[in-house]
Chain length 342, copies 2
């Protein structure tokens, strides 16, 4: 029971395969109306679909794009994946999702695999790693794609020259800190992400910038680094509390961290925002569902990912800069209050 090929269609319609090919793809190539009808009927009767592999071989590119993700079960990446798959679908291409599990070696392997598949482009959704050998290899991939008129697009800083669709991570860190300061807070902690990830670093540096700008001095005890995770936020808050450091506000580098922080505070009987205000960067659906609902700098992940696909698919000339920076407006919910001296 072999697949039906273009030849089968041609035979049934009583025309050449060339003609079949033309009515199918070459939408405006002149073909007699009557012939076209016959072909279309044959296509339908046989339930014919062109073989992508043959097209790929001939055209030298496939109907796929690649998405590289650190952990697809994390809604952060999930939202990106949803946008990518949906937008890809609009362009008639399929999405190959690669999950690196935070292992750079996997990521590099995936790059080779995607290359073999001749994907139209790759979206890098995780923040880049600050590691030389990794960066070097990635740089090679980018070049390879560039040479073929394809693109690797970054959704977070990679420390490399490439098209991107991002937020300004430093500005976001600065913005949430500014906001707490505007509300009167002076002793503000920052619970950060991994020290090896560019975006985490930038968010933290925005925090320092804001402090500095407002003439507040930086207290190293108030800045911690860890993972972009619930557990990490939970631990950080516990430590802050244990050390008995005074503070009235906490900036969290992402939502998961904030969720963990909230839980730690709750367990210690500390009221949010009554005693401590909490703010974070990101705006996952859960942010509106925790209690209290979280005030955040909104990161329009979905729209960003949509755009990233556009950069790949519309991407006329590889030299043309298609990069964008999205804004991160503060969404006010209920986890921040004005500072009340005890």
């Amino acid at each position: 029971m072999p697949r039906v090929s273009i030849e089968d269609v041609a035979n049934l319609a009583g025309v050449s395969i060339t003609t079949v090919s033309r009515v199918i793809n070459n939408k405006d190539y002149p073909v007699a109306e009557k012939t076209k009808k016959k072909v279309l009927k044959a296509v339908k009767d046989l339930n014919y679909f062109p073989d992508f592999a043959a097209q790929n071989l001939r055209n030298n590119f496939s109907n796929t794009i690649g998405l590289i993700t650190r952990d697809i079960s994390d809604p952060y990446f999930g939202i990106i994946a949803r946008a990518v798959t949906e937008r890809a679908s609009y362009y008639g291409v399929l999405s190959i999702v690669c999950n690196t599990g935070r292992n750079p070696v996997n990521e590099l392997q995936y790059h080779d695999l995607l290359w073999q598949h001749k994907v139209r482009g790759i979206i890098l959704s995780g923040g880049g790693l600050d590691a030389d050998d990794y960066r070097y290899k990635l740089q090679e991939q980018i070049k390879r794609y560039n040479d073929h008129g394809n693109r690797i697009v970054a959704l977070a800083p990679q420390g490399l020259e490439m098209p991107y669709v991002m937020i300004d991570n430093r500005a976001a860190g600065e913005m949430i800190t500014d906001y707490l300061i505007d509300q009167g807070h002076r002793r503000i902690a920052f619970v950060g992400g991994p020290e090896k990830i560019y975006s985490a670093l930038e968010r933290a540096s925005g925090y320092k910038l804001s402090l500095n700008k407002h003439g507040l001095n930086f207290d190293a005890a108030l800045l911690t680094h860890g993972q972009f995770s619930w557990e990490s936020g939970y631990e950080a808050a516990k430590n802050l509390l244990r050390e008995n450091i005074s503070f009235s506000g906490i900036c969290c580098a992402n939502n998961d961290i904030a969720f963990g922080v909230l839980q730690a505070l709750k367990e210690k009987g500390i009221d949010v925002p009554g005693q401590v205000s909490v703010i974070s960067i990101g705006d996952l659906p859960m942010a509106a569902h925790v209690s209290p609902p979280l005030t955040t700098a909104h990161v329009p992940l979905y729209d960003m990912a949509l755009r990233a696909v556009d950069v790949i698919m519309d991407g006329a000339k590889p030299d043309q800069n298609a990069s964008v920076i999205f804004k991160t407006p503060i969404v006010k919910r209920q986890s921040v209050a004005k500072y009340m001296p005890k």
Copy 2:
């Protein structure tokens, strides 16, 4: 700057393309050690990777599997996707993720696209729809794959004959209801999923089964159907409360529903589990992070999805039944307490 092909390798190594092909794939075909060395060196020097499209065309199958998902941004599907991509990677194949957005028409289109890609198999992660035309088309796809020795595997009931890796949804519904009854509860509500989805239906019927088994009579006011979502759970609980129906326990058809229920209860100042016990089916990471931590029937999604990939990749004879049912043990956390009459 064309891609490097097997011919380039052959030229550099000074051998024929046949030989190159042999050292690469045909691991145990006899090739002189010296020749092998030369070839391997050329492969490395040129950074050669076989063209998957050409292999696909020749072999008549690709190095990919398909995953069909309702909403990849939902951690439920995210966990499945992580397992699938990771396990696929182990087999050296890539995963094509398709997001239907709960639209059956999309799903059917994706089936055609995946067919064109000659995927090795497809995993259906969402519960099947109780709609005749949809089922009919899906049945056709299954047959088409069967004829080619490939497989479409279901991770939830589809109402069709096909290999599956599932839990017993009815038993899970029964189990959580049993558990509440064991704790002394008599008036138990069930907040269900969509009425068109098989798994939702089965879970609800397990609830009735349990009631019946224990000689409790079924009160239609206590059973609701909606979506598998936070909002749906939230609304359902609000309604239950508004109608002033008495109950001391709530069974939720999935985690998201339970999270919404918990929030509605909290807003009404109802203590969980002091006044009302809540239990659900599913065990997303968040279940341990809400307050109170949720008692659930654990659904081993990750392992199930791993297994689904195995069914596709190891799937010797298509006629051989590779299906499995996973157990759903109750994970006791803090959302259920013994019934205390007021």
